[in-house]
Symmetry: C2
Subunit: 336 residues, 2 copies
């Protein structure tokens, strides 16, 4: 019998979190949530790829600093990103003197790293771990689609890759916010081939994970203050709602999508919303966790989704597999 939900009885805490974003994110509704930004999006580096690495470096440094830690307080780093061979993480975190687990979960990376880090902390293998991820609009666009200078037309279902990096320090329990349960995702492929509609490709993975979670835990969506998905955008969020409704779970009223929170969709011309590892990572670190700490949210699900294709697989006509990892994060609601 396969194990599903893993209960973390020691309730590992998220001890510190930091975010680094670009200009467009600072023009959005969550601007006041972010720690650092660079008006030029370059972070002082000569290439967009190096800018993204630099954002990870700054994010981890800031998270360590905000928590009052030193690098030697961190047992291991769990990190990944969208760039080929995850070089934003490899280069960005190379000079930290810490053990390193490279992950690839596409835009689900922040949840994947939290699942692994919190299980290993709960088991006593580690005391304190970092979870780090990033995306950069310019490095992602030129790798997956076209250089931005090309000015390619984007269809309405397309999402806007967030320029952002997030770093969390997870450790033994010491108050809210803390992680109580995790549920890793399964690779789910429902036949979507349109790389300008990642939301549709990832929604079935989110539905699979959430259905498994509700079925096994006996909970219903309304048992949570909010169910946050990572970057389904406008298109994918609608599909997720329909898929879960057909399974008997109504998430309307409790569902929010990080891709629809980070930008003002119409005014900022981001089409179906934000995406990229940095999107759900920054919304979690900059907005959701502080709301839990402040007692405004009591128990939430964080379900980050990833699309696991590459340019070659799409050119070869393959469909887009998705994955969604789930983390249940809790605090003490101010209103009881």
């Amino acid at each position: 019998m396969q194990r599903g939900i893993i209960e973390l009885s020691s309730r590992p805490s998220i001890l510190s979190a930091a975010t680094v974003v670009g200009k467009k994110e600072m023009d959005g509704p969550l601007a006041r949530c972010f720690d650092k930004y660079d008006e030029t999006d370059t972070f002082g580096m000569p290439t967009w790829e190096q800018s993204e690495s630099e954002m990870q470096r700054i994010a981890l440094n800031t998270a360590i600093d905000k928590g009052g830690f030193k690098i030697h307080d961190i047992d291991a780093i769990f990190a990944g990103d969208l760039i080929n061979q995850c070089t934003s993480s490899g280069y960005g975190l190379a000079n930290f003197d810490a053990q390193f687990f490279g992950l690839f979960g596409a835009c689900s990376t922040m949840a994947e790293s939290l699942v692994l880090a919190s299980m290993l902390i709960d088991s006593g293998k580690y005391s304190r771990c970092a979870a780090v991820t990033s995306s950069h609009n310019c490095s992602a666009e030129r790798q997956f689609r076209f250089p931005i200078e090309y000015g390619g037309q984007r269809p309405p279902t397309a999402q806007w890759t967030v320029t952002g990096a997030a770093a969390l320090i997870v450790g033994e329990h010491s108050g809210a916010p803390y992680i109580t349960e995790v549920l890793p995702g399964r690779v789910t492929d429902k036949g979507i081939t349109d790389n300008a509609n990642m939301g549709a490709a990832m929604a079935p993975a989110a539905a699979d994970t959430l259905k498994r979670y509700f079925d096994e835990s006996g909970t219903k969506p309304q048992d949570f203050d909010t169910i946050f998905t990572g970057d389904l955008g406008f298109e994918g969020s609608g599909i997720l709602g329909e898929l879960l409704m057909s399974e008997g779970y109504d998430i309307s009223g409790v569902h929010k999508d990080c891709g629809l929170m980070i930008y003002e969709r119409e005014r900022q011309d981001v089409h179906a919303g934000g995406s990229g590892c940095g999107c759900s990572g920054c919304v979690l670190a900059g907005h959701i966790l502080p709301e839990i700490t402040a007692g405004k949210l009591g128990r939430i699900l964080f379900v980050a989704t990833g699309a696991m294709m590459n340019t070659a697989s799409l050119q070869q006509g393959l469909t887009i597999p998705g994955i969604a990892h789930l983390v249940c994060i809790e605090g003490d609601r101010a209103d009881g």
Copy 2:
């Protein structure tokens, strides 16, 4: 104080292992060790990328089958590969009904997946996990260098990417071979920029991990029947020996490199030896583990190394960071 070596007191066992290789590997000295191969290297698929995915699918199927398991006996799969966005794993393992952790550790992937899987089994979070990886000469060559049809000249320090996939099933203790200790790697960058000399880029990472292991455990190289490194090749193996000698550890006599074992270097014209995630994965699964089961090896270190660059980072003049994860695997030596 950062944790280093993690001792696995329950000694998780490697319950089953399977390998799938190509024609060149079947022409090498370890031919009799491999489970499945395809004379055409295509595995019936229309593109090299899909061939590599298919190899992972066959390898995992075979490992499950050899162990007498069903997919529902597997709690989670840990998998990764060299292809952009790790699509060999994403597509190859999409149809297995199991939770999935995508990893990126370049050629260190098999060790990284064993480190994570065995820690989670030792802690009781999981009962049984799969560790899967692959590489394919033709998909790797055209992604990282040139399509093979181009016939580019390769320098003597270049390694030959192995066409191979390996899958291991790790579970609760039930005899040899079993995992007793793990030590994750740190990202190590000593300034190598030559992408035709990966051995030199990765050797410092292997030296860092082994030095940390010997220092902390109080062991010396001669306490192990063999120290297997993953794919340093001829060039990198020499550098590793020198680096460790300068730290007071003499590995000559006990060190073997998977990249130097899988091919007959001169006759098969592979220059500095084999490489790719599939190299150390297949040598471990096909050769090392059976030797432990047979009592010919008692206690070994498996140290798989990865180079964490991509084509863009090299074109931009960056150096090549390396990483090396260590797994101590034991059995009962026939001679005592």
